[in-house]
């Protein structure tokens, strides 16, 4: 899932500036699950903004709504009337949802209510960790199913650097050394040979470094497949 957390109230209040009629739109997908932008958080953000503005002598009119998945056109379409009536729309979706709104409603002032951090999972109640870096060329088959690209602070592909101590990364106590985990896993499975060969310079073209990614499935296209193939 995509993990996000709410921006500080102060920052959002600064962005909304002189807008009086606000619409806060939550998302029912990942950010609901990570308690950042679901129905409950959307309402409490609206309350917070209302009170924060009131303290400064501003009377806001704030409404809230939800999109089941804010990252798809069809789920943000029904919001059209409410979006048009608002001075500004605060999206508490991930960065994808915010942009879906921005592209769907080019006239509207769309403001992000969250900071999107990573692709990961809740490892326990209240703790989320990054698990995937979206590098476009998955290496998990060779690393015991644990990702060094996302989970090593230096994305090392050939084992732990000198900063690994007691299972912890040199950057700090909250970060496990994923290479210690990989080593332990593969040793336990008697498959250490997987990391004994050297992984040479990785191809980062399929990653973000090659430019924004676009995935094309011509078998799923409804319109102009041939035009797409020629691109």
């Amino acid at each position: 899932m995509i993990i996000a957390e709410q921006k500080p109230l102060r920052e959002i209040l600064n962005i909304i500036d002189k807008d009086k009629k606000l619409l806060v739109i939550g998302c029912g997908a990942c950010v609901s699950i990570c308690f950042a932008g679901g129905e409950k958080e959307t309402k409490s953000l609206a309350d917070g903004l209302f009170l924060g503005a009131k303290k400064e002598g501003l009377e806001l009119s704030i409404e809230t709504d939800m999109a089941l998945r804010q990252c798809e056109w069809e789920f943000v379409e029904p919001l059209e009337d409410r979006v048009k009536k608002a001075d500004a729309v605060i999206s508490t979706a991930c960065g994808v949802g915010v942009q879906t709104m921005a592209e769907k409603y080019p006239e509207a002032k769309i403001i992000p209510g969250l900071n999107t951090t990573s692709m990961g999972m809740p490892v326990e109640q209240g703790v989320w960790k990054e698990y995937c870096g979206g590098c476009g060329d998955c290496v998990l088959a060779f690393t015991g199913g644990l990702c060094p690209v996302a989970r090593c602070a230096k994305s090392l592909l050939n084992g732990p650097c000198g900063g690994s101590k007691d299972g912890i990364c040199e950057i700090g106590r909250d970060t496990e050394c994923v290479w210690q985990l990989i080593y332990d896993r593969l040793k336990g499975q008697d498959r250490l040979e997987l990391i004994m060969g050297n992984v040479l310079a990785k191809n980062w073209e399929p990653a973000r470094d090659g430019g924004p990614r676009r995935t094309l499935r011509t078998d799923l296209l409804i319109r102009g497949e041939k035009d797409e193939e020629q691109k």
Binding site: A153, L157, N158, G159, G162, Q180, Y183, N198, A201
Partner: protein, 305 residues
């Protein structure tokens, strides 16, 4: 010979090598490099010029290396994977070779969160091992990482670091093998204070036969004070500082003199370990101590080969 490096000549003639370390200044002042170089001249076979160590911005390793070589030292330049991608690294290495630099230490690099620009973006396009492989191919196959041919190739004597005290301990010798496979010619180890653990690591290294093909230089640092050791124990990754050493420095009347003694003793001890080809003396912001240490350890004058 793989390069024209003096360090390579000393090591391949099986003389016990001495390298030192020179930290470039946090400024554009060439005189700092010249002053430090003067302390080190004649005391070592080559001198390591750090590449923004602990992620603090300093004069670049290559440029300080050129200044040091003007002062009559042979530099070992460093390259980390933190600040440059493969384009930047190869470009800088062509330049370094064109400027006459002969030795290159390939490192992953300390994370930028340690340094004075923790908000920077890190690169890590390569890691130390893919960097070694790339540099060896530039030299031996005359090709860039992309496989395009290089007309005049950079010929470096290639070094790498080893961290015998980091975890997982059992993997540390295997990781050295990976570095050897990737192209390392010589190795500088992390600072040795825990001799027992270091000897154990060397035993594992010998079991893999690595000491026969790799010149291993043991890292030596004279402690300047007990406080410095405590700091290293707590904050510097890959350090293993025994408590006895800290108490020895605490009770010393003249800590600097004691620190020099510690370094000399350590050199004498690592020298007896089979497979140690030399020492790398890192007198941190204390370059003037190196010649004293080398002298007392019986390592002066340095051989002319």
């Amino acid at each position: 010979m793989k390069s024209k490096s003096n360090l390579e000549k000393v090591l391949s003639s099986r003389k016990f090598a001495v390298t030192a370390e020179l930290g470039p200044p946090k400024s554009a002042d060439a005189n700092v490099v010249r002053t430090k170089a003067a302390y080190l001249k004649g005391a070592c076979d080559a001198v390591n010029i750090t590449d923004c160590q602990t992620a603090i911005v300093r004069m670049s390793s290559i440029s300080a290396g050129v200044i040091a070589s003007q002062e009559g030292l042979e530099p070992v330049i460093q390259m980390t994977c933190r600040d440059r991608n493969r384009i930047g690294i190869q470009s800088d290495l062509l330049g370094a070779a064109a400027l006459g630099l002969q030795n290159l230490l390939c490192l992953t690099g300390d994370h930028q969160s340690f340094g004075n620009h923790p908000q920077s973006k890190n690169v890590h396009d390569l890691d130390s091992i893919s960097l070694l492989d790339m540099v060896r191919n530039m030299r031996d196959k005359k090709i860039f990482q992309c496989a395009e041919e290089i007309e005049v190739e950079p010929r470096f004597f290639i070094g790498a670091a080893a961290s015998p005290f980091s975890d997982p301990l059992e993997f540390r010798a295997l990781r050295l093998k990976k570095k050897y496979d990737a192209g390392a010619d010589f190795i500088q180890t992390q600072i040795v204070y825990n001799l027992e653990k270091f000897s154990l690591w060397m035993k594992m290294v010998r079991e893999l036969g690595l000491e026969r093909n790799l010149y291993i230089l043991a890292g030596i640092t004279p402690p300047k004070s007990a406080g410095m050791l405590k700091y290293m124990k707590k904050f510097v990754p890959g350090q293993d500082v025994p408590d006895e050493l800290i108490s020895r420095m605490e009770s010393a009347k003249d800590p600097e003199e004691e620190g020099i003694k510690v370094a000399v003793e350590m050199i004498e001890k690592v020298r007896q370990i089979e497979g140690i080809a030399g020492v790398h003396i890192m007198a941190i912001e204390w370059e003037e101590a190196v010649s004293e240490i080398a002298n007392r350890a019986g390592l002066l004058p340095r051989p002319i080969v």
